[in-house]
Protein backbone atom coordinates (compact mmCIF):
# COMPACT_ATOMS: atom_id res chain seq x y z
CA UNK A 1 0.00 0.00 0.00
CA UNK A 2 1.40 3.37 -0.96
CA UNK A 3 0.92 6.35 1.26
CA UNK A 4 1.54 10.00 0.75
CA UNK A 5 4.48 10.81 2.98
CA UNK A 6 6.02 14.15 3.79
CA UNK A 7 9.55 14.41 5.12
CA UNK A 8 11.89 17.23 5.96
CA UNK A 9 15.10 16.40 4.15
CA UNK A 10 18.04 18.81 4.05
CA UNK A 11 15.81 21.64 5.16
CA UNK A 12 13.29 21.10 2.38
CA UNK A 13 9.86 19.55 2.60
CA UNK A 14 9.53 16.59 0.26
CA UNK A 15 6.29 14.78 -0.51
CA UNK A 16 6.11 11.42 -2.26
CA UNK A 17 4.21 8.16 -2.37
CA UNK A 18 5.90 5.18 -0.77
CA UNK A 19 4.92 2.11 1.22
CA UNK A 20 5.45 2.85 4.94
CA UNK A 21 7.91 0.00 5.33
CA UNK A 22 10.17 1.17 2.49
CA UNK A 23 13.67 1.87 3.84
CA UNK A 24 14.59 5.53 3.90
CA UNK A 25 17.62 4.72 1.70
CA UNK A 26 15.34 3.57 -1.14
CA UNK A 27 13.27 6.70 -0.85
CA UNK A 28 16.38 8.85 -0.99
CA UNK A 29 17.99 7.11 -3.94
CA UNK A 30 15.14 5.74 -6.02
CA UNK A 31 12.31 8.19 -5.42
CA UNK A 32 14.09 11.45 -4.65
CA UNK A 33 17.15 10.77 -6.83
CA UNK A 34 19.57 11.68 -4.04
CA UNK A 35 22.26 9.14 -4.83
CA UNK A 36 25.00 10.51 -2.62
CA UNK A 37 23.95 8.08 0.10
CA UNK A 38 25.17 4.61 -0.82
CA UNK A 39 23.79 1.10 -0.50
CA UNK A 40 26.36 -1.26 0.96
CA UNK A 41 25.17 -4.28 2.92
CA UNK A 42 21.48 -3.54 3.45
CA UNK A 43 21.58 -4.83 7.04
CA UNK A 44 23.04 -1.89 8.96
CA UNK A 45 26.45 -3.48 9.23
CA UNK A 46 28.70 -1.43 6.93
CA UNK A 47 27.68 2.18 7.47
CA UNK A 48 27.70 3.23 3.78
CA UNK A 49 24.08 4.41 4.02
CA UNK A 50 24.56 6.61 7.11
CA UNK A 51 22.41 9.75 7.29
CA UNK A 52 21.45 12.03 10.18
CA UNK A 53 18.02 11.81 11.78
CA UNK A 54 17.56 14.62 14.30
CA UNK A 55 21.34 15.06 14.16
CA UNK A 56 22.20 11.48 15.03
CA UNK A 57 23.93 9.08 12.67
CA UNK A 58 21.62 6.24 11.67
CA UNK A 59 21.65 3.57 8.97
CA UNK A 60 19.04 4.44 6.38
CA UNK A 61 18.98 0.97 4.79
CA UNK A 62 17.01 -0.58 7.68
CA UNK A 63 15.01 2.47 8.67
CA UNK A 64 11.40 2.33 7.49
CA UNK A 65 10.38 5.68 6.07
CA UNK A 66 7.38 5.67 8.43
CA UNK A 67 9.81 5.90 11.35
CA UNK A 68 11.18 9.29 10.23
CA UNK A 69 7.93 11.16 9.68
CA UNK A 70 8.10 14.48 11.57
CA UNK A 71 11.85 14.11 12.08
CA UNK A 72 14.68 16.02 10.42
CA UNK A 73 16.80 14.12 7.92
CA UNK A 74 20.18 15.34 6.70
CA UNK A 75 22.14 13.59 3.97
CA UNK A 76 25.62 13.90 2.48
CA UNK A 77 24.24 16.37 -0.06
CA UNK A 78 23.58 18.89 2.70
CA UNK A 79 25.89 18.05 5.59
CA UNK A 80 28.41 20.64 4.42
CA UNK A 81 26.01 23.34 5.53
CA UNK A 82 26.30 22.25 9.18
CA UNK A 83 29.35 23.55 11.10
CA UNK A 84 30.67 20.08 11.96
CA UNK A 85 29.98 18.76 8.46
CA UNK A 86 31.83 21.65 6.85
CA UNK A 87 34.87 21.08 9.05
CA UNK A 88 34.85 17.36 8.31
CA UNK A 89 34.60 17.80 4.56
CA UNK A 90 37.44 20.31 4.55
CA UNK A 91 39.66 18.02 6.63
CA UNK A 92 38.77 15.07 4.40
CA UNK A 93 39.96 16.91 1.30
CA UNK A 94 43.14 18.14 2.91
CA UNK A 95 44.10 14.75 4.30
CA UNK A 96 43.19 13.07 0.96
CA UNK A 97 41.21 10.51 2.94
CA UNK A 98 39.27 9.09 0.03
CA UNK A 99 40.46 6.17 -2.03
CA UNK A 100 37.66 4.44 -4.01
CA UNK A 101 35.13 6.59 -2.19
CA UNK A 102 32.17 4.25 -1.93
CA UNK A 103 31.99 4.26 1.87
CA UNK A 104 32.98 7.88 2.29
CA UNK A 105 29.53 9.51 2.39
CA UNK A 106 28.80 7.29 5.34
CA UNK A 107 32.18 7.96 6.93
CA UNK A 108 31.68 11.72 6.63
CA UNK A 109 28.15 11.54 8.04
CA UNK A 110 29.33 9.45 11.01
CA UNK A 111 32.29 11.78 11.63
CA UNK A 112 30.09 14.90 11.43
CA UNK A 113 27.63 13.47 13.96
CA UNK A 114 30.53 12.57 16.23
CA UNK A 115 32.01 16.08 16.14
CA UNK A 116 28.64 17.74 16.64
CA UNK A 117 28.16 15.75 19.86
CA UNK A 118 31.81 15.46 20.95
CA UNK A 119 33.83 18.42 19.63
CA UNK A 120 37.15 17.04 20.85
CA UNK A 121 37.01 13.26 20.51
CA UNK A 122 39.83 11.07 21.75
CA UNK A 123 40.77 7.77 20.10
CA UNK A 124 38.21 5.79 22.08
CA UNK A 125 35.45 8.24 21.11
CA UNK A 126 36.44 7.85 17.46
CA UNK A 127 36.44 4.06 17.84
CA UNK A 128 33.00 4.07 19.42
CA UNK A 129 31.48 6.33 16.78
CA UNK A 130 33.22 5.03 13.67
CA UNK A 131 33.49 1.28 14.34
CA UNK A 132 30.33 0.57 12.37
CA UNK A 133 31.61 2.29 9.22
CA UNK A 134 33.65 -0.10 7.16
CA UNK A 135 36.19 0.89 4.49
CA UNK A 136 37.53 -1.91 2.33
CA UNK A 137 40.26 0.31 0.92
CA UNK A 138 41.61 0.74 4.43
CA UNK A 139 41.46 4.50 4.79
CA UNK A 140 40.95 4.18 8.55
CA UNK A 141 44.28 5.81 9.43
CA UNK A 142 43.53 8.87 7.34
CA UNK A 143 39.94 9.00 8.63
CA UNK A 144 41.20 9.16 12.22
CA UNK A 145 43.74 11.81 11.29
CA UNK A 146 41.16 13.90 9.45
CA UNK A 147 38.69 13.74 12.35
CA UNK A 148 41.38 15.01 14.71
CA UNK A 149 42.32 17.78 12.31
CA UNK A 150 38.71 18.79 11.92
CA UNK A 151 38.31 18.85 15.70
CA UNK A 152 41.36 20.97 16.25
CA UNK A 153 40.46 23.26 13.41
CA UNK A 154 43.99 22.75 12.05
CA UNK A 155 42.95 21.70 8.65
Amino acid sequence: MHMATTLTINGETKSFDAPPEMPLLWVLRDILGMTGTKFGCGIAQCGACTVHVDGKAVRSCVLPVSAVANRTVTTIEHVGSTPAGAKVQKAWLEAEVIQCGYCQSGQIMAAAALLAATPNPDDSDIDAAMAGNICRCGTYVRIREAIKHAANGQS
Partner: protein, 447 residues
Amino acid sequence: MSGKMRILGSLIVIAIVAVALGVFIIRGPGPLDFAGGSKVALADYRAGKPTGVPAKLEKASLVERGEYLAKAADCMVCHTRPGEKDYSGGLAFKLPFGTLYSTNITPDKDTGIGNYSDQDFLNAVQHGKRRDGARLYPAMPYTSYTFMTDEDVLAVKAYLFSQPAVRAKAPENTLSFPFNQRWAMIVWSAVFNPDTRFAPDTSKSPEWNRGAYLAEALAHCGECHTPRNLGFALDNRKKFAGAITAGWRAFNISSDKATGLGNWSDQDLISYLSLGHAPGHGSASGPMGEAVDHSFSQFAPEDITSIVAYLRSVPPQPSPDLPATTAPVAPASHGDGVTADARGKKVFASACASCHGWSGESPVSPMATLTGTWAVNDPAATNVAQIVISGTKRHTPDGALSMPAFGNAYTDDEIAAVANYVTARFGAKGSKLTAKDVAELREQTAE
Protein backbone atom coordinates in the same frame (compact mmCIF):
# COMPACT_ATOMS: atom_id res chain seq x y z
CA MET B 1 -12.16 -63.93 53.79
CA SER B 2 -8.84 -65.43 54.82
CA GLY B 3 -6.14 -63.41 56.54
CA LYS B 4 -3.93 -63.55 53.41
CA MET B 5 -6.69 -62.20 51.23
CA ARG B 6 -7.32 -59.42 53.69
CA ILE B 7 -3.66 -58.43 53.65
CA LEU B 8 -3.56 -58.56 49.83
CA GLY B 9 -6.76 -56.51 49.69
CA SER B 10 -5.35 -53.86 52.00
CA LEU B 11 -2.10 -53.72 50.01
CA ILE B 12 -4.04 -53.16 46.80
CA VAL B 13 -6.08 -50.41 48.44
CA ILE B 14 -2.92 -48.81 49.81
CA ALA B 15 -1.26 -49.04 46.38
CA ILE B 16 -4.26 -47.44 44.69
CA VAL B 17 -4.38 -44.66 47.27
CA ALA B 18 -0.61 -44.10 46.91
CA VAL B 19 -0.83 -43.88 43.11
CA ALA B 20 -3.87 -41.61 43.30
CA LEU B 21 -2.09 -39.37 45.80
CA GLY B 22 1.04 -39.35 43.62
CA VAL B 23 -1.01 -38.37 40.57
CA PHE B 24 -2.83 -35.72 42.59
CA ILE B 25 0.45 -34.24 43.82
CA ILE B 26 2.33 -34.28 40.53
CA ARG B 27 -0.64 -33.11 38.51
CA GLY B 28 -1.26 -30.10 40.75
CA PRO B 29 -4.00 -27.59 40.09
CA GLY B 30 -5.58 -27.05 36.69
CA PRO B 31 -4.93 -23.88 34.72
CA LEU B 32 -8.11 -22.16 35.92
CA ASP B 33 -8.25 -23.49 39.49
CA PHE B 34 -6.68 -20.30 40.89
CA ALA B 35 -9.92 -18.42 40.23
CA GLY B 36 -11.71 -20.52 42.81
CA GLY B 37 -15.25 -19.52 41.83
CA SER B 38 -18.09 -21.88 41.08
CA LYS B 39 -18.13 -23.29 37.57
CA VAL B 40 -21.15 -23.98 35.42
CA ALA B 41 -21.44 -25.92 32.19
CA LEU B 42 -21.12 -23.65 29.17
CA ALA B 43 -24.70 -24.42 28.11
CA ASP B 44 -25.98 -23.11 31.44
CA TYR B 45 -24.00 -19.87 31.32
CA ARG B 46 -26.22 -16.91 30.45
CA ALA B 47 -24.13 -13.84 31.38
CA GLY B 48 -22.11 -13.76 28.17
CA LYS B 49 -20.55 -15.80 25.39
CA PRO B 50 -17.02 -16.75 26.32
CA THR B 51 -16.41 -19.11 23.40
CA GLY B 52 -16.52 -18.77 19.64
CA VAL B 53 -15.75 -15.67 17.58
CA PRO B 54 -16.18 -11.98 18.42
CA ALA B 55 -19.50 -10.27 17.65
CA LYS B 56 -18.38 -8.86 14.29
CA LEU B 57 -17.88 -12.43 12.97
CA GLU B 58 -20.98 -13.94 14.54
CA LYS B 59 -22.72 -14.14 11.16
CA ALA B 60 -19.61 -15.02 9.17
CA SER B 61 -19.20 -18.35 7.37
CA LEU B 62 -17.87 -21.41 9.17
CA VAL B 63 -14.55 -21.08 7.36
CA GLU B 64 -14.19 -17.43 8.33
CA ARG B 65 -14.99 -18.21 11.94
CA GLY B 66 -12.51 -21.08 11.80
CA GLU B 67 -9.86 -18.75 10.42
CA TYR B 68 -10.25 -16.38 13.37
CA LEU B 69 -10.07 -19.27 15.83
CA ALA B 70 -7.12 -20.94 14.06
CA LYS B 71 -5.22 -17.65 14.30
CA ALA B 72 -6.24 -17.26 17.94
CA ALA B 73 -4.93 -20.78 18.59
CA ASP B 74 -1.82 -19.88 16.56
CA CYS B 75 -1.75 -23.22 14.72
CA MET B 76 0.34 -21.87 11.88
CA VAL B 77 3.55 -20.89 13.64
CA CYS B 78 4.29 -24.43 14.86
CA HIS B 79 2.85 -26.21 11.84
CA THR B 80 4.87 -24.25 9.28
CA ARG B 81 8.57 -24.44 8.65
CA PRO B 82 9.98 -21.00 7.72
CA GLY B 83 10.01 -20.66 3.96
CA GLU B 84 7.62 -23.57 3.39
CA LYS B 85 3.89 -23.53 2.66
CA ASP B 86 1.50 -22.59 5.44
CA TYR B 87 0.42 -25.48 7.68
CA SER B 88 2.62 -28.00 5.85
CA GLY B 89 4.54 -28.91 9.03
CA GLY B 90 8.18 -29.92 9.46
CA LEU B 91 9.24 -27.34 12.05
CA ALA B 92 11.85 -28.96 14.31
CA PHE B 93 11.50 -28.73 18.07
CA LYS B 94 14.81 -29.50 19.69
CA LEU B 95 14.28 -31.11 23.08
CA PRO B 96 16.88 -32.41 25.50
CA PHE B 97 15.92 -35.95 24.48
CA GLY B 98 15.75 -35.58 20.70
CA THR B 99 13.97 -33.68 17.96
CA LEU B 100 10.24 -33.58 17.27
CA TYR B 101 8.82 -32.39 13.96
CA SER B 102 5.44 -30.73 13.59
CA THR B 103 3.02 -32.40 11.23
CA ASN B 104 1.37 -31.38 7.99
CA ILE B 105 -2.17 -30.19 8.79
CA THR B 106 -3.15 -29.25 5.27
CA PRO B 107 -5.98 -31.33 3.73
CA ASP B 108 -3.56 -33.51 1.75
CA LYS B 109 -4.89 -37.06 2.02
CA ASP B 110 -1.53 -38.86 2.10
CA THR B 111 0.72 -36.60 4.13
CA GLY B 112 -1.76 -34.23 5.79
CA ILE B 113 -5.09 -34.57 7.58
CA GLY B 114 -7.28 -34.92 4.49
CA ASN B 115 -8.76 -38.18 5.74
CA TYR B 116 -9.65 -36.88 9.18
CA SER B 117 -13.33 -37.08 10.10
CA ASP B 118 -14.78 -34.55 12.54
CA GLN B 119 -14.33 -37.07 15.33
CA ASP B 120 -10.72 -37.77 14.27
CA PHE B 121 -9.97 -34.05 14.43
CA LEU B 122 -11.62 -33.65 17.83
CA ASN B 123 -9.63 -36.65 19.07
CA ALA B 124 -6.38 -35.05 17.98
CA VAL B 125 -7.04 -31.53 19.26
CA GLN B 126 -8.83 -32.29 22.53
CA HIS B 127 -7.48 -35.73 23.43
CA GLY B 128 -4.04 -35.93 21.80
CA LYS B 129 -4.97 -38.98 19.77
CA ARG B 130 -3.93 -39.41 16.14
CA ARG B 131 -6.26 -40.86 13.50
CA ASP B 132 -4.32 -44.14 13.53
CA GLY B 133 -4.76 -44.34 17.29
CA ALA B 134 -1.18 -43.34 18.14
CA ARG B 135 -0.73 -40.71 20.85
CA LEU B 136 0.53 -37.21 20.18
CA TYR B 137 3.45 -35.81 22.11
CA PRO B 138 2.46 -32.86 24.28
CA ALA B 139 4.51 -30.49 22.11
CA MET B 140 1.06 -30.28 20.53
CA PRO B 141 -0.68 -28.29 23.28
CA TYR B 142 -3.78 -30.46 23.42
CA THR B 143 -3.89 -30.12 27.20
CA SER B 144 -4.81 -26.48 26.46
CA TYR B 145 -6.89 -27.04 23.33
CA THR B 146 -8.93 -29.61 25.25
CA PHE B 147 -10.80 -26.63 26.76
CA MET B 148 -12.05 -25.60 23.30
CA THR B 149 -15.67 -26.34 22.46
CA ASP B 150 -16.38 -28.99 19.81
CA GLU B 151 -17.97 -26.27 17.71
CA ASP B 152 -14.81 -24.14 17.76
CA VAL B 153 -12.50 -27.08 17.07
CA LEU B 154 -14.61 -28.06 14.07
CA ALA B 155 -14.64 -24.49 12.78
CA VAL B 156 -10.83 -24.63 12.82
CA LYS B 157 -11.05 -27.92 10.91
CA ALA B 158 -13.30 -26.31 8.30
CA TYR B 159 -10.77 -23.51 7.88
CA LEU B 160 -7.82 -25.90 7.58
CA PHE B 161 -9.73 -27.96 5.03
CA SER B 162 -10.34 -24.78 2.99
CA GLN B 163 -6.58 -24.33 2.62
CA PRO B 164 -4.57 -25.74 -0.29
CA ALA B 165 -3.49 -29.36 0.20
CA VAL B 166 0.29 -29.57 0.36
CA ARG B 167 2.14 -32.82 -0.13
CA ALA B 168 4.87 -32.73 2.47
CA LYS B 169 5.99 -35.42 4.85
CA ALA B 170 7.63 -34.27 8.04
CA PRO B 171 10.92 -35.97 8.93
CA GLU B 172 10.75 -38.78 11.48
CA ASN B 173 11.19 -37.78 15.10
CA THR B 174 14.58 -38.59 16.56
CA LEU B 175 13.68 -39.11 20.19
CA SER B 176 15.82 -41.34 22.39
CA PHE B 177 14.55 -44.19 24.56
CA PRO B 178 12.29 -44.10 26.56
CA PHE B 179 10.83 -40.96 24.97
CA ASN B 180 10.40 -42.65 21.60
CA GLN B 181 7.75 -44.94 23.15
CA ARG B 182 4.58 -43.21 22.00
CA TRP B 183 2.36 -45.59 23.96
CA ALA B 184 3.74 -44.09 27.16
CA MET B 185 1.82 -40.94 26.24
CA ILE B 186 -1.37 -42.86 27.12
CA VAL B 187 -0.24 -42.71 30.74
CA TRP B 188 1.01 -39.15 30.40
CA SER B 189 -2.27 -38.07 28.89
CA ALA B 190 -4.33 -39.87 31.53
CA VAL B 191 -2.46 -38.00 34.24
CA PHE B 192 -1.96 -34.60 32.66
CA ASN B 193 -4.71 -33.96 30.13
CA PRO B 194 -7.66 -32.48 32.02
CA ASP B 195 -9.76 -33.64 29.03
CA THR B 196 -12.58 -31.26 29.82
CA ARG B 197 -14.26 -28.39 27.99
CA PHE B 198 -14.20 -24.80 29.21
CA ALA B 199 -16.59 -24.19 32.09
CA PRO B 200 -17.37 -20.52 32.85
CA ASP B 201 -16.80 -19.18 36.36
CA THR B 202 -19.97 -17.45 37.58
CA SER B 203 -18.08 -15.45 40.20
CA LYS B 204 -16.18 -13.62 37.44
CA SER B 205 -17.24 -11.13 34.79
CA PRO B 206 -18.21 -12.20 31.27
CA GLU B 207 -15.12 -10.34 30.07
CA TRP B 208 -12.90 -12.40 32.38
CA ASN B 209 -14.50 -15.62 31.15
CA ARG B 210 -13.91 -14.64 27.53
CA GLY B 211 -10.30 -13.78 28.41
CA ALA B 212 -9.88 -17.10 30.21
CA TYR B 213 -11.18 -19.02 27.20
CA LEU B 214 -8.94 -17.10 24.79
CA ALA B 215 -5.81 -17.31 26.95
CA GLU B 216 -6.18 -20.91 28.09
CA ALA B 217 -8.05 -22.82 25.38
CA LEU B 218 -6.84 -20.92 22.31
CA ALA B 219 -3.73 -18.78 22.81
CA HIS B 220 -2.25 -21.37 25.21
CA CYS B 221 -0.10 -18.73 26.98
CA GLY B 222 0.84 -21.18 29.73
CA GLU B 223 2.56 -23.58 27.33
CA CYS B 224 5.48 -21.15 27.21
CA HIS B 225 4.94 -18.91 30.25
CA THR B 226 4.22 -21.55 32.92
CA PRO B 227 7.13 -23.66 34.23
CA ARG B 228 6.93 -27.42 33.73
CA ASN B 229 6.97 -30.12 36.39
CA LEU B 230 8.95 -33.37 36.52
CA GLY B 231 6.47 -34.95 34.14
CA PHE B 232 7.07 -32.13 31.62
CA ALA B 233 3.51 -30.90 32.17
CA LEU B 234 2.55 -27.36 33.20
CA ASP B 235 3.06 -26.68 36.90
CA ASN B 236 0.11 -24.41 37.65
CA ARG B 237 1.31 -23.91 41.21
CA LYS B 238 3.63 -21.43 39.47
CA LYS B 239 1.15 -20.32 36.87
CA PHE B 240 2.58 -17.78 34.40
CA ALA B 241 5.79 -17.43 36.45
CA GLY B 242 7.86 -17.67 33.25
CA ALA B 243 9.97 -20.44 31.72
CA ILE B 244 12.51 -21.21 29.03
CA THR B 245 10.88 -22.53 25.87
CA ALA B 246 12.71 -23.36 22.63
CA GLY B 247 15.79 -21.58 23.95
CA TRP B 248 13.99 -18.27 24.63
CA ARG B 249 12.87 -17.00 28.00
CA ALA B 250 9.13 -16.48 28.18
CA PHE B 251 9.00 -13.92 30.97
CA ASN B 252 6.77 -13.81 34.02
CA ILE B 253 3.24 -12.76 33.03
CA SER B 254 1.67 -13.21 36.46
CA SER B 255 0.43 -10.11 38.24
CA ASP B 256 3.62 -9.79 40.31
CA LYS B 257 4.36 -6.06 40.65
CA ALA B 258 8.13 -6.20 40.31
CA THR B 259 8.83 -9.05 37.92
CA GLY B 260 5.44 -9.77 36.34
CA LEU B 261 2.86 -7.59 34.64
CA GLY B 262 1.74 -5.83 37.82
CA ASN B 263 3.29 -2.51 36.87
CA TRP B 264 2.18 -2.60 33.22
CA SER B 265 -0.78 -0.37 32.45
CA ASP B 266 -3.74 -1.77 30.55
CA GLN B 267 -2.62 0.32 27.59
CA ASP B 268 0.88 -1.21 27.77
CA LEU B 269 -0.58 -4.71 27.65
CA ILE B 270 -2.98 -3.89 24.84
CA SER B 271 -0.17 -2.32 22.86
CA TYR B 272 2.23 -5.21 23.49
CA LEU B 273 -0.28 -7.84 22.47
CA SER B 274 -1.68 -6.10 19.43
CA LEU B 275 1.47 -4.37 18.12
CA GLY B 276 4.28 -6.32 19.77
CA HIS B 277 5.62 -3.24 21.51
CA ALA B 278 4.90 -1.24 24.62
CA PRO B 279 6.79 1.99 25.35
CA GLY B 280 9.35 1.41 28.09
CA HIS B 281 8.82 -2.36 28.08
CA GLY B 282 10.42 -3.28 24.79
CA SER B 283 9.32 -5.27 21.79
CA ALA B 284 8.23 -8.86 21.30
CA SER B 285 10.73 -10.99 19.41
CA GLY B 286 11.43 -14.67 18.94
CA PRO B 287 8.43 -16.91 19.66
CA MET B 288 6.40 -14.03 21.16
CA GLY B 289 7.09 -11.90 18.09
CA GLU B 290 5.62 -14.71 16.00
CA ALA B 291 2.65 -15.00 18.36
CA VAL B 292 1.95 -11.28 17.92
CA ASP B 293 2.41 -11.28 14.15
CA HIS B 294 0.32 -14.34 13.41
CA SER B 295 -2.09 -14.42 16.31
CA PHE B 296 -2.61 -11.53 18.75
CA SER B 297 -2.39 -8.80 16.11
CA GLN B 298 -5.39 -10.44 14.42
CA PHE B 299 -7.55 -10.43 17.57
CA ALA B 300 -10.60 -8.20 17.81
CA PRO B 301 -9.91 -5.26 20.20
CA GLU B 302 -12.50 -6.52 22.71
CA ASP B 303 -10.76 -9.91 22.76
CA ILE B 304 -7.44 -8.25 23.58
CA THR B 305 -9.02 -6.34 26.48
CA SER B 306 -10.62 -9.56 27.71
CA ILE B 307 -7.20 -11.25 27.80
CA VAL B 308 -5.82 -8.27 29.70
CA ALA B 309 -8.67 -8.53 32.25
CA TYR B 310 -7.89 -12.22 32.66
CA LEU B 311 -4.11 -11.76 32.98
CA ARG B 312 -4.67 -9.21 35.74
CA SER B 313 -6.42 -11.86 37.84
CA VAL B 314 -3.59 -14.42 37.80
CA PRO B 315 -1.99 -14.45 41.27
CA PRO B 316 1.46 -12.88 41.61
CA GLN B 317 4.43 -15.23 41.28
CA PRO B 318 7.78 -13.54 41.85
CA SER B 319 10.79 -14.33 39.63
CA PRO B 320 13.57 -14.19 42.25
CA ASP B 321 16.36 -14.12 39.67
CA LEU B 322 15.12 -10.87 38.12
CA PRO B 323 15.92 -7.46 39.60
CA ALA B 324 13.16 -5.62 41.48
CA THR B 325 13.40 -2.71 39.08
CA THR B 326 14.78 -2.44 35.58
CA ALA B 327 17.83 -0.25 35.04
CA PRO B 328 17.47 3.42 33.98
CA VAL B 329 18.80 4.88 30.74
CA ALA B 330 22.56 4.41 30.31
CA PRO B 331 24.87 7.42 29.81
CA ALA B 332 24.82 8.96 26.34
CA SER B 333 28.59 8.69 25.93
CA HIS B 334 30.30 5.36 25.34
CA GLY B 335 33.03 6.42 27.80
CA ASP B 336 30.68 6.70 30.78
CA GLY B 337 28.97 3.81 32.46
CA VAL B 338 30.03 0.19 32.34
CA THR B 339 33.16 -0.58 30.35
CA ALA B 340 33.97 -4.00 31.81
CA ASP B 341 33.88 -6.18 28.70
CA ALA B 342 36.27 -4.59 26.18
CA ARG B 343 35.55 -7.22 23.56
CA GLY B 344 31.82 -6.90 24.00
CA LYS B 345 32.12 -3.14 23.66
CA LYS B 346 34.01 -3.53 20.38
CA VAL B 347 31.28 -5.73 18.96
CA PHE B 348 28.60 -3.37 20.25
CA ALA B 349 30.32 -0.35 18.67
CA SER B 350 30.56 -1.92 15.25
CA ALA B 351 27.34 -3.92 15.06
CA CYS B 352 24.79 -2.53 17.53
CA ALA B 353 25.37 1.11 18.46
CA SER B 354 24.11 2.66 15.22
CA CYS B 355 20.56 1.45 15.90
CA HIS B 356 20.40 0.98 19.69
CA GLY B 357 22.53 3.98 20.71
CA TRP B 358 25.00 4.12 23.60
CA SER B 359 22.23 5.12 26.01
CA GLY B 360 19.99 2.20 25.07
CA GLU B 361 17.37 4.62 23.78
CA SER B 362 17.30 4.01 20.07
CA PRO B 363 17.89 6.96 17.75
CA VAL B 364 16.00 4.94 15.13
CA SER B 365 12.75 3.75 16.65
CA PRO B 366 11.22 3.23 20.09
CA MET B 367 10.86 -0.41 19.06
CA ALA B 368 14.64 -0.78 19.14
CA THR B 369 15.04 0.83 22.59
CA LEU B 370 16.77 -1.48 25.06
CA THR B 371 16.11 0.51 28.23
CA GLY B 372 13.43 -1.02 30.43
CA THR B 373 13.21 -4.38 28.65
CA TRP B 374 13.37 -7.62 30.62
CA ALA B 375 15.71 -9.05 28.01
CA VAL B 376 18.58 -6.73 29.03
CA ASN B 377 17.63 -6.89 32.72
CA ASP B 378 17.73 -10.70 32.81
CA PRO B 379 21.08 -11.67 34.38
CA ALA B 380 20.99 -14.87 32.30
CA ALA B 381 20.91 -12.78 29.05
CA THR B 382 19.03 -15.60 27.32
CA ASN B 383 16.95 -13.46 25.00
CA VAL B 384 19.73 -10.97 24.32
CA ALA B 385 21.92 -13.81 23.04
CA GLN B 386 19.00 -15.31 21.12
CA ILE B 387 18.06 -12.15 19.30
CA VAL B 388 21.70 -11.53 18.41
CA ILE B 389 21.86 -15.06 16.99
CA SER B 390 18.61 -15.05 15.07
CA GLY B 391 17.59 -11.40 14.64
CA THR B 392 13.98 -10.34 14.38
CA LYS B 393 11.55 -8.93 11.89
CA ARG B 394 8.60 -7.11 13.36
CA HIS B 395 5.53 -6.16 11.42
CA THR B 396 3.58 -3.16 12.61
CA PRO B 397 0.82 -1.24 10.88
CA ASP B 398 3.24 1.51 9.88
CA GLY B 399 5.94 -0.71 8.51
CA ALA B 400 8.36 -3.48 9.26
CA LEU B 401 11.38 -2.99 11.46
CA SER B 402 14.02 -5.64 11.50
CA MET B 403 17.23 -6.59 13.20
CA PRO B 404 19.65 -8.73 11.22
CA ALA B 405 20.69 -12.15 12.51
CA PHE B 406 24.30 -12.22 13.66
CA GLY B 407 24.48 -15.94 14.38
CA ASN B 408 26.63 -16.66 11.35
CA ALA B 409 28.64 -13.45 11.54
CA TYR B 410 29.99 -13.72 15.06
CA THR B 411 31.48 -16.58 17.06
CA ASP B 412 29.88 -17.91 20.23
CA ASP B 413 32.61 -16.14 22.14
CA GLU B 414 31.83 -12.76 20.56
CA ILE B 415 28.09 -13.22 21.07
CA ALA B 416 28.67 -14.05 24.74
CA ALA B 417 30.89 -10.97 25.07
CA VAL B 418 28.38 -8.60 23.52
CA ALA B 419 25.49 -10.07 25.55
CA ASN B 420 27.52 -9.59 28.73
CA TYR B 421 28.33 -6.02 27.70
CA VAL B 422 24.72 -5.22 26.83
CA THR B 423 23.27 -6.60 30.06
CA ALA B 424 25.91 -4.80 32.12
CA ARG B 425 25.45 -1.47 30.33
CA PHE B 426 21.67 -1.42 29.91
CA GLY B 427 20.46 -3.83 32.58
CA ALA B 428 20.50 -4.06 36.34
CA LYS B 429 23.12 -6.78 36.54
CA GLY B 430 25.55 -7.98 33.89
CA SER B 431 25.40 -11.56 32.65
CA LYS B 432 28.26 -14.02 32.68
CA LEU B 433 27.59 -15.95 29.50
CA THR B 434 30.30 -18.15 28.06
CA ALA B 435 30.78 -19.39 24.51
CA LYS B 436 29.48 -22.77 25.69
CA ASP B 437 26.23 -21.19 26.93
CA VAL B 438 25.72 -19.55 23.55
CA ALA B 439 26.37 -22.84 21.75
CA GLU B 440 23.70 -24.46 23.93
CA LEU B 441 21.19 -21.70 23.18
CA ARG B 442 21.75 -22.22 19.46
CA GLU B 443 20.97 -25.91 19.93
CA GLN B 444 17.62 -25.26 21.58
CA THR B 445 16.12 -22.94 18.98
CA ALA B 446 13.27 -24.39 16.94
CA GLU B 447 13.91 -24.35 13.19
